[in-house]
Symmetry: D2
Subunit: 257 residues, 4 copies
């Protein structure tokens, strides 16, 4: 097709490929979700429906991008792990970050009414995204362990914090009460003051959500051109397993393969 | 709050700041929109409602990011120009790309029913995004001119192509017919064969859409923390002006200021 | 020629092009030159021969790289400014940084005996290099002004410092004496205590060194392939002009052209 | 010390850290060495003194940068492998590339007279440098194997080429003769036509040069600040071992540790 004399401006687009043979993690975080969750009356410390909506979006992302091996989500964040050998979009960072963020964001709005039938969406949720490379399987596992450990730390703190607030303390008082306390103290506080056995809280709150594909063959739509391709890995499922210990990885050697 | 021993994985997140004092263009493109537009019965060569939905999303993006000075859209793409001196999010590329793409994508789904009341959304639209730096006002204007010239070139071609197809030609025949033809020929073809005066087609189809803020003061919500801030630039509006010639820029010196 | 099965490792070499249409500054700094200068008995605060050797190396760099428009040096550092439109080596950052650093370093050793006939070179001098992009002529001039202002600030301080030390003070006493003092005080100190009129010190010490090409045509060797090419700009010369004020730039409009 | 109003230009210096936990290879290549070697009458296909000078420079680089684990050189190129966990200079790419290139270049000139006592240096040798990250030990070994395989391929070809040229063929005839020939043919050609047993050529020509540290403790000067520090790894030595097979790596597990 015809070209204009302005065409030269294309040369300012610099490539941003990610290092080959590294695991690519695309992590999304909700922007201003403290305010978003208040505006939409999310339950505190955890809103089960909001978490299920996040998981639904993550499943859609895995359906759209067959190169994703595993995803992990908690609160308003989600990490998607692209295969270390994948060559999708030339491994261009902004391409991967934007597509995953776009897919997640669109699905969040699309499936909102199904998860919040009586709560209209009052503003548009926004997520930021970033790409991080991890050079070895070992360090990738540490990344995922970091997020799952963080889930526990945050959830335990938030469970205490909101129990104190719901019991009548101000937010500042609750904060001061918890400042510098250890895990054991918090568990004891929950049990002795509020009758909450931390270990009996829903596993999704304590462990976050793990999205993987079953190991059966399945025909999936390929993200890049929409044609049907035969891929390893089948049904996308959400669990709340421990991914810090070796056990999970020993039963699922295909994920890091 | 407590930290886990996995914390070290954070150091793999490398910064990606864009060069200071350059105009930052974030350009979004619909992914697989040929198929998306067929699936949702978009009119060819231009679907006015689909374009208005794109414009609506662009307006939302400008409302959310006060540092955007001007945006230009055509077909399934949109370019957003951040002020050359803005320091938002440390000018980190992936942050800006992902936030703008997320905001646009979520709004596309959110406002779909208003623009397509009788056409349900059948799949989630996805956009990719990229960041490009332009070092001077002059080159930035060339970038915008490039996109608007492209709008004209594409629209003229597509108008001919779909007129031929609607008149009974196959897509391959229409393509062959137009191969290598010049502007004058295409205009003549449209008029003599189909009675279409190109210059009388809707200006939005021919010139694309230009989104700017009026120059009045207005209180807008700041994107980063949701607090209300007093900013220059008021009501966000969509026009279809020529932004290639000097005239536009002479009446709006504030945009490049 | 034959290829080995290991060839795939080439794909790990990522491109690092610098933004088009920006001025490229390659700045070199001596590594550990405090020690290097003591080891080789450089005069304090300024060693004229050492500065002339630096200038000689800079001239060689300009002879080798016709795309360099101007260079500025002081103490153990030198900045080389490549034309904003130059396309040499695809504007790859590491290519430019390494070639300029290599050329400078090799020449430093090569021309050492000519500048220090009675002082053998006792260790190999090392320079580090970096590339910085400046988007406009205005900001590039500020960069050069920054370096020349820095030359003055450092030289004035060092002249005072070494005058105090040579007069019998310890280094710590000299430092304490100068801490927080202003320009006027330092000038007064030099004159009243040591009879030094700052403005009469050699201009090379006060203003640094400016390397440019005369505007006459000249045949120079091109860096990339060694063939002789006709280039604008002729004899490379070293001056010590003021490059902060407009005057210099008004008489040399070709530099930023 | 005082600051000028131009100080803001520092913010244009963007960081360029290399991914943590990856092996960093800095590879240098001679620029225009075909011409440089002719100008200085290097013997063809291999000049032993020129190679020994390259090795001398590599040894100096390893002495200056204790974080380098191994280096490999052939012809006018040298690769230096920094430890995957090293944090030197924040792993900044341009810093590492420029320092290694500078150190090598300066030493090349410095030690020239020792290796070429009767051949004056007629122009300044220049090297370019680049940094490449390799995420695993396995791929790093493939990188080094690639260079050593390349040494063999080049040397065999060049030995044939120069034997033909020295026997009276023109360069073009020699090239045409060798075009598309296999390893076995070239070995046969060397033996039957020129009486050269390829396997008996000096091992340095066939295998290149491998620079490592002995495993004994030794006090070395640290590159960054010149202070003496106790480091693992002792005397730097040059060998011409095979580094493609496992044997080398099994006897030297410390290199990749």
């Amino acid at each position: 097709m015809a070209k204009s004399r302005f065409e030269y401006v294309k040369q300012f687009e610099l490539e941003d490929p990610l290092l080959p043979h590294c695991w690519i993690v695309i992590r999304l975080d909700g922007k201003g979700f403290t305010r978003f969750s208040e505006l939409h009356n999310f339950k505190k410390p955890n809103d089960e429906q909001a978490l299920r909506l996040m998981n639904r979006c993550a499943v859609e992302v895995l359906e759209a991008f067959p190169d994703i091996r595993i995803a992990f989500g908690e609160s308003d964040e989600y990490s998607f792990v692209f295969s270390k050998t994948c060559k999708i979009y030339g491994r261009r960072s902004s391409k991967l970050v934007s597509l995953v963020t776009s897919c997640f964001s669109g699905n969040y709005v699309r499936w909102w009414p199904e998860h919040f039938p009586s709560q209209p969406l009052l503003c548009t949720p926004i997520f930021d995204g970033r790409a991080v490379c991890y050079p070895t399987d070992h360090i990738l596992r540490h990344y995922l362990a970091w997020r799952q450990a963080d889930t526990h730390i945050n959830n335990q703190y938030n469970t205490c914090f909101w129990a104190l607030v719901h019991s009548g303390k101000s937010r500042t008082e609750a904060q001061d009460h918890l400042k510098g306390t250890q895990t054991a103290y918090k568990n004891e506080l929950l049990f002795s003051e509020f009758g909450i056995k931390y270990g009996l809280l829903p596993v999704m709150f304590r462990k976050g959500s793990v999205v993987t594909r079953s190991r059966r063959q399945k025909t999936v739509k390929h993200a890049e051109d929409g044609t049907a391709v035969q891929r390893e890995g089948g049904e996308v499922t959400v669990t709340h397993e421990d991914i810090i210990d070796d056990a999970f990885w020993e039963t699922r050697p295909d994920i890091l393969m």
